[in-house]
């Protein structure tokens, strides 16, 4: 994977190095430049809005999870929960909660955004991604 220096126009390999604490530290621009591929999606067995410590919970809402990753080494991991919602005779797949990842985003001074702000920023990225059909098609096939 390559990145382009904005000043000189030179092209470099995109380097991702894990930090000692396990985070992959990336600027938002670098993160957005990394293509993510769909790994797996699935349905939840517990109703959205509840937490069950037991198996066999009743499905009340259609909700699930989805996992995406980069093809880099080390790999970026990004996963989030989703919910199917009926709106104006349409069924929409909406992100539920903030994503889970191995990423620490950096501000323009190369300082950590922090765990919480990174999750918020990643949520915005997810909302701009074209993931809904991929997840819907995968789930349809998986549970057919």
């Amino acid at each position: 994977m390559l990145e382009t220096d904005r000043v000189t126009g030179r092209v470099f390999p995109l380097e991702i190095t894990p930090s000692d604490d396990g985070y992959l530290r990336l600027s938002q621009a670098k993160f957005r430049a990394i293509p993510l591929v769909h790994l797996i999606s699935g349905l939840d067995t517990e109703p959205a809005g509840t937490v069950s410590a037991s198996v066999g919970a009743t499905l009340a809402d259609i909700a699930g999870f989805t996992e995406w990753a980069s093809l880099t080494t080390p790999a970026v991991s990004l996963g989030w929960d989703w919910l199917l919602e009926a709106f104006d005779r349409e069924v929409r797949c909406l992100r539920l909660g903030e994503p889970r990842s191995n990423i620490m985003l950096l501000d323009r001074h190369s300082r950590d955004l922090g765990h919480t702000q990174t999750a918020v920023a990643l949520a915005l990225v997810v909302d701009e991604m074209d993931w809904h059909e991929t997840v819907a098609d995968y789930v349809r096939t998986r549970y057919a």
Binding site: G22, V51, S52, A53, G56, E67, A75, N102, M104
Partner: protein, 183 residues
């Protein structure tokens, strides 16, 4: 419910065999994990004198939760069995980094459903906090864990600072993650 913790030699007499049977019922019978079992008990190569157990016990003596803690300067699950979850990084080997494993907050005879509003006070939340406190008491500053999605969500819902090591591995259709938990 009370929470008891300690190495096998430090647990009340009779508790460890009950714990091994509880683990069998949860991880083997209910969750279908392929684990070594014998005569209705579940133990593996990481159960030993250096392991620390956190056990939730009800007033009637029934076990309703458990966790296992191991220091990473010895063999542990993530490094020995799931190194692919490390995302290409070396496995931690540090007495201040411990592994949390075999976490369960399942009450075998009582189905519990907790609303998100009540979750911070649930037995699962209490057990997780006790396990983290126990790890800290043994000198841990961070935890690693091999976990499933439900556990990752539980940790997140508790407001615990955790992050993944990398993408999940898919085992029997279920994503399995390596995670860091910051204490």
């Amino acid at each position: 419910m009370r929470v008891i913790s300690g190495a096998p030699s430090g647990l009340p007499q009779g508790l460890y065999p009950k714990l091994a049977n509880y683990r069998y019922q949860v991880f083997v019978e209910r969750l279908g994990w392929q684990l070594p079992v014998q005569d209705g008990v579940e133990t593996d190569q990481f159960d030993g004198p250096d392991s620390v157990y956190v056990v939730a016990e009800e007033l009637d003596g029934e076990i309703s939760g458990c966790a296992r803690l191991l220091p990473t300067d010895g063999p542990y699950l993530l490094s020995s069995v799931f190194p692919q979850l490390l995302n290409g990084t070396p496995p931690p080997c540090d007495p201040t980094i411990w592994e949390l494993s075999r976490f369960s907050a399942v009450h075998l005879t009582r189905r519990t459903k907790t609303s998100l509003a009540d979750f911070p006070n649930s037995s699962a939340a209490l057990l997780m906090r006790e396990a983290m406190a126990c790890a800290v008491a043994h000198g841990a500053r961070r935890l690693v864990t091999v976990t499933v999605l439900a556990m990752e969500r539980l940790i997140r819902r508790l407001g615990i600072h955790s992050h993944r090591m990398g993408p999940p591995c898919i085992i029997d259709g279920e994503p399995i993650y390596g995670c860091w938990i910051e204490l």
